[in-house]
């Protein structure tokens, strides 16, 4: 909104305009008022960082996106297993906003996972599945036929394919948040996050968890779980979100059994590479029994989401 436009308007109209602008919600953020307090007790690790929340006016809770989740799984040395993906044949089962939003996140994570392993034909199938979910939610132009064509045209260009996936996911989430549907946007994110957790924990299977990079990535999700809960808490007036909050809240008791200890961070900038390394060390404590408990709970949760 340009200042020039402001100067051309009568004062009363300008005032109304300012009010209208301030009413405009944007993104998956929450505008805080003094009485709108958050529960801050979810995690000892993040207690310090989250206790300043009330003083800020705009709050964003950012979860790893489907693309970042898939990248983390791959970089941890995981192998590709198509059997783990939610079948595209299930798309017709999803008819409610809740199921379509959850599975938009789930299919986008599956799509990202397949793409990072250069499974182009599968990627196209899953882009179509995600499109069906987005269309069902009334998300206009997030994924169109042109998107599918672009995927096919860039079959050997993974950077471009990742860019297309990132763009379509942003289109969906921005459409929902900008059209006053932030609750659905949060459900999409949580669906994608649970799918990543499911794929990673299933890929570990019965393998030894000691020194296992994929297990480390799963344990790291204790940090993101805290953000998941805040994101859902912010939207719990929505009945679908309230249901998911109850379902996913069951993971808390298991994550609470995992202990992550981290030393303080020392930021070391490297002028040559223009990258700052945040140096610190962390240790994790998790028993095979707790990991198995987490695997089972995640499997059950994901099964509920795709059924």
């Amino acid at each position: 909104m340009s200042n020039k436009l402001f100067s051309l308007m009568p004062i009363k109209l300008t005032a109304i305009l300012i009010i209208a602008v301030s009413m405009a919600g944007c993104g998956s953020e929450k505008r805080k008022s003094g009485s709108d307090e958050l529960s801050l007790s979810e995690s000892e690790i993040s207690a310090g960082i989250l206790e300043d929340v009330n003083s800020a006016k705009q709050i964003f809770y950012s979860l790893p996106s489907p693309l970042e989740t898939a990248m983390l799984i791959k970089n941890a040395g995981a192998s590709y297993n198509e059997d783990l993906l939610n079948s595209v044949d299930n798309t017709s089962n999803y008819t409610t906003n809740k199921s379509m939003a959850l599975n938009l996140g789930i299919y986008t994570t599956d799509l990202s996972f397949a793409s990072l392993f250069d499974q182009t034909q599968t990627s196209i199938l899953y882009m179509n599945a995600a499109k069906r979910m987005a269309d069902g939610l009334g998300i206009l132009d997030a994924i169109d036929n042109n998107t599918i064509d672009m995927l096919e045209e860039n079959i050997n260009n993974r950077d471009r394919i990742m860019d297309i996936i990132s763009e379509t996911f942003m289109n969906s989430s921005s459409f929902l948040t900008e059209n006053e549907r932030p609750a659905l946007a949060s459900i999409v994110l949580v669906g994608g996050w649970v799918e990543g957790l499911y794929i990673a924990s299933t890929l570990v299977g019965d393998a030894n968890i000691e020194g296992n990079k994929l297990v480390e990535r799963i344990v790291d999700q204790k940090l993101s779980f805290d953000i998941v809960m805040h994101l859902l808490e912010d939207n719990k007036d929505n009945i679908d979100v309230a249901e998911i909050l109850t379902e996913i809240g069951d993971l808390k008791s298991t994550f609470d059994k995992i202990i992550i200890t981290t030393t303080s961070i020392q930021a070391v900038p490297d002028e040559e590479t223009n990258v700052t390394v945040l140096k610190s060390k962390s240790t994790i404590e998790i028993t095979p029994e707790v990991f198995q408990e987490l695997q089972e709970k995640v499997k059950m949760l994901r099964s509920n989401f795709i059924s």
């Binding site: 405009a24 970089n75 993974r158 953000i227 805040h230 610190s280 962390s282």
Partner: protein, 147 residues
């Protein structure tokens, strides 16, 4: 007659403006801010809001070890340079762009996964018009593909 006209325009603005202003934020994030991430790959998440001079925002995110990240924080042209800080759980400021000529991006890598806070502020600046300036502010993240 003039009052009726103003009233009608005001109602129309109240009804339509939230969508149009937000749509500007989406376009701004996509067309202006996302390019700042290159060659890092945008993660696909969308964090943008209308902020007014003096307003603040905070973002909470877990960053994972051994991953190269770039954060880009951008504001509309009518806003002063946007200030941002990255803060850890001990409230230590790991980076402040104020000390770096209000750079829009920062590249970093963590040795251990951490939940960090990104604090964003639209600072008050001298020379701004008397009217309250407001505009889109976007916070975006990218990562490098190692393979």
């Amino acid at each position: 007659m003039k009052k009726i006209f103003h009233f009608t325009v005001a109602i129309a603005l109240l009804t339509l403006l939230p969508l149009s202003v937000n749509a500007q934020c989406k376009g701004f994030a996509k067309k202006i801010c996302k390019v700042e991430l290159s060659p890092y790959i945008h993660d696909g998440n969308y964090h943008a809001a209308i902020l007014t001079v003096g307003e603040e925002a905070e973002l909470y995110k877990t960053f994972y070890s051994d991953t190269d990240y770039r954060i880009a924080v951008c504001g509309s042209v009518n806003l002063p340079d946007i200030e941002f800080r990255v803060i850890d759980s001990d409230r230590n400021v790991l980076y402040s762009n104020k000390d770096n000529e209000y750079a829009m991006t920062w590249n970093f890598r963590l040795e251990a996964s951490q939940q960090l806070k990104v604090f964003v502020k639209v600072p008050t600046a001298e020379g701004l018009p008397e009217e309250i300036a407001s505009g889109c502010v976007a916070i975006m993240f990218g990562f490098l593909d190692k393979n």
